[in-house]
Amino acid sequence: MLGALAVAGPLIFHLIRRTTRERTVFSSLMFLRPTPPRLTHRSRLEHILLLLLRCLALALLALGFARPFLRKTAPTDAVSGEARRIVVLVDVSASMRRAGLWAEARNRVEAVLRKATPGDQVAVFTYGRQVSPLVSFEEWKAALAGERTGLVLSRLAATTPGWTGTHLGNALISAAEALADADGEKKGITGPRQIVLVSDLQAGSALDSLQAYDWPKGIELEVQALPARNTTNAGLQLVAESPDADRQATPAVRVRVSNAGDSTREQFRVGWARPDGTDFAGAVIDVYVPPGQGRVVAVPVPAGIPGLQKIMLRGDDEDFDNSVYVMPPEKQKLSVLYLGADAADDIHQPLYFLQRALPDNPHLTVRVVPHSPAAELSPAEVQDPKLFFVTEALPPATAALLREQMLAGKTVVFAPKTAEAATALGQLLGISGLGLENVQPSNYAMLAEIDFQHPLFAPFADPRFSDFTKIHVWKYRRVSAAAIPGARVLSKFDSGDPALLEIPAGKGRLLALMTGWNPDDSQLAVSSKFVPLLYSMLELGGGLIEQGTQIMVGDPVPLSATGPTTEPTVVRPPGGAAVTLPAGTASFTQTLQPGIYEFTTGQRTTRLAVNLDPAESRTAPLPEDQLERYGAPGPQAVPEPVQAARREALLQGAEAESRQKLWRWFLGATLAVLLIESALAGWTARRQARTVNTGGLTS
């Protein structure tokens, strides 16, 4: 109807016709004086009729283009009987904990369900890190038509958003596959297949898996994006210690404060929380983070306050991601027993290198205890070490003690200095008649056929690190692998003789390295492989607990990190009941919320911090075309309910209009008025011309 405003056009033109004329640019107006325009009263009168006609024509044209219709209740067609299959995916990741999102999500789901016809099949899945069915197709079909919505809503009411990250890609794939599976089962349904995604579509959603997925044809994606009430959100993430952390005067924990892309505030406060979690303990750091960026700050550990385990952030709208739990790693103390008659400062002997290859670091202290084979070994001395190095022949008592420890689960590294140490190998393995032979290659030998699948060599599996040819071996001891039952050759010399063997013994194992690392035997000690190899041996012996990896909500915690898996482990989640895991369980998977988890195995108690996925803090909405970019079909954004009602009304109007086609009449009327206008204008012009010809003046 805005077109009706065009009626003003002729009016304005008629008014300004006298004043606007063509413009003429002239060099100088210094000799010209303005002349008053001349007007004729009669022509004005005549033109008013023309003006009215022109206005009428334009008004009719505008009415015609407005496509009017008479509002009548048109007989609506019965809803097409095509049954649809719908999977409703409801986001229950941590970012859905934001104010108002969950209630809105439930409303949206309800709206979708209300629209479903009795013939439709609906399944409702929730997803965060994992996809779990809330109501499956089978349950939907099994329920009575009137109770289905109630069933979903009651289950939805019992669900709350969790603490996990958002693996949206996986969720979409699962939903698409669920639809495809249902296809296979039932051929009778011909209606559209649809995924309705109810999510806040935060930028931290993981979509990578969609990239490799071939989206099945015919599955539509409807996105119900939930708008966040407050957009300012900042999150915390633990950052690895800086390399010079041990040199700092005061211990500090580094955290990254990241601000969401659509935040409106930039100023936040970070500090340690008191053990009761109420307020800051110690110094508070003011952090300025522009939207969409992150800043790493070192939060110094306040002295004299025990039980600190949480760093918190204040200053944003949403507090679901405002804490990060920190468990300062305990310094591990390990000891290694070296059985050999070496002088500690003899640079030609293996001990010299062993002592220097395992220096102290903030997390680990390894003590190498040398012990001469000639001296007697007491049982107390073998209790603590996890790893034993044997380089010489041993007295039978010592060998028996070591074998006992090995069978109980410890690791012995046998690295004979000479072929005479063969007796020790026989004693340790319980095999008699095992012989070694000194070999001196004409030039040098190299390590070949390394088994990179084995945990010992796994760190070197990357092609960048797998080159062992720089290590030249001047002499080695030859052993027949066939003579040792159960021996696994992990590496050979290029001559084909075994270089490193693994022989399982009871719960433990023996590693037989057939050359020494000292420079008289080989270049192993001076190569870059030596230290990682020793740490691998420590890990293999179970002495070294891997640390430093952060555990996110939903990550499984390997129980090997908390103690021997041979005993049952009691896990105490934060604020929950203790769970006892039977012996032999590989990992604890129920990390459902952030906090400090306590693992008790026998006498030993390990406390691990589990934190929120930092991606959840990126709460700015995904770019609209992001899903399409990852291969999902274009999201058909669903308008707000009010808009939907309006659109429906518009649609009905359009239908009525197309039936009545009133615009034709208006267009016909316009043409008629224009014809009259032209005739009138022509007549006026002729009359004027005649007047001029006869010399009449109009003024």
Binding site: R21, T24, S27, S28, F31, T35, P36
Partner: protein
């Protein structure tokens, strides 16, 4: 062709239609066409042998400076002759060209600025051929560009380049360039002042007086468009001042009666000022062929030269 009646030396056939001339893009080429045509015209005219650098010999009379004796002639004829106006061959000519925006008006396909630039280029080329030094000063409300008078290769091209710049100034100040040239050029010379003079004239006379008082020989070319002289518009329209962008509604039929006397009075005022100061004044309509302007210029110079030239052989 209108000027053929009062140009005794040039037949109308020899003149070039300015419209055709202006269609030549290159300013130097345009100037060359005019000057060469002018030379051809001269050959048919009774005024043989005159030029700005005209040199004549006069028999020596006691009292003349012996420095001006032509010894070669003496060697040939055994008589003493004085070389007259030798220094005029090293004439310095300054062209003052208006480049204000009022000059960018033109009703017959080219602007006054183009016409004025061609006129200036023609004069420059003509004088250059004679070995004179030519300088240029372009101006609008202030002095835009100044090229000192020189006679060397490349200078003419530089001058043409400066002339070809578009007229852009928002106002015309007629006195500043005159005052500037008075201050800059100490040695006597020739000054050709090309403008439409469509600006207040109050201070024009004192500044021109200062220039002539310095001994310069001044020639004024008032370049006007035919439309400016006749106001031959038919339709009433909103007239926009090209310089001030001020608009006025004007019905030419009604305004013409008042306009024509006023512009004529203005031109007469310029002419009167020039006559009073002994300055050559030429009013050129842009439809007049340029050769006429050149012819008038040379002729006027000759006439004034005869009138005002001192009889002493030396002009140093």
């Amino acid at each position: 062709m209108i000027a053929s009646a009062n140009s005794p030396g040039l037949s109308s056939a020899a003149l070039i239609d300015p419209r055709a001339l202006m269609s030549i893009r290159n300013l130097e080429l345009r100037a060359r066409v005019v000057v060469e045509g002018f030379w051809k015209g001269l050959h048919r005219s009774p005024y043989h042998g005159f030029s700005v650098e005209f040199t004549e010999y006069r028999q020596y009379t006691p009292g003349d400076d012996p420095r001006y004796l032509d010894w070669r002639v003496y060697a040939r004829s055994d008589r003493y002759f004085i070389k007259k106006f030798e220094d005029e061959t090293n004439l310095r000519c300054h062209l003052l060209v208006d480049q204000s925006r009022s000059m960018s008006y033109g009703s017959n396909g080219y602007t006054k600025a183009q016409y004025a630039a061609t006129l200036a280029a023609t004069l420059a080329y003509f004088l250059h051929l004679q070995g004179d030094a030519i300088g240029l000063l372009t101006f609008d409300e202030k002095v835009r560009e100044y090229l000192p008078a020189r006679h060397r290769s490349g200078h003419l091209r530089q001058l043409m380049f400066a002339l070809e710049k578009p007229a852009s100034g928002k106002a015309t100040n007629l006195t500043t360039p005159v005052e500037r040239i008075t201050g800059l050029v100490r040695k006597r010379g020739l000054v050709a002042y090309v403008s439409d003079f469509l600006a207040p004239l109050e201070r024009l006379e004192p500044s021109l007086l200062a220039l002539t008082a310095c001994g310069h020989e001044v020639t004024v070319f008032q370049v006007l468009d035919p439309a400016e002289l006749t106001l031959n518009f038919e339709q009433a329209a909103v007239f926009e001042d090209i310089e001030s962008e001020q608009t006025v509604y004007i019905d030419p039929a009604a305004a013409r009666a008042e306009y024509l006397p006023r512009i004529e009075a203005h031109c007469a005022a310029v002419r009167a000022t020039c006559q009073k100061l002994g300055i050559g004044y030429h009013r050129l309509s842009t439809e007049q062929p340029l050769e006429l302007a050149l012819f008038e210029f040379v002729q006027g110079r000759m006439r004034r030269g005869r009138l005002s030239r001192p009889s002493a052989p030396s002009r140093s």
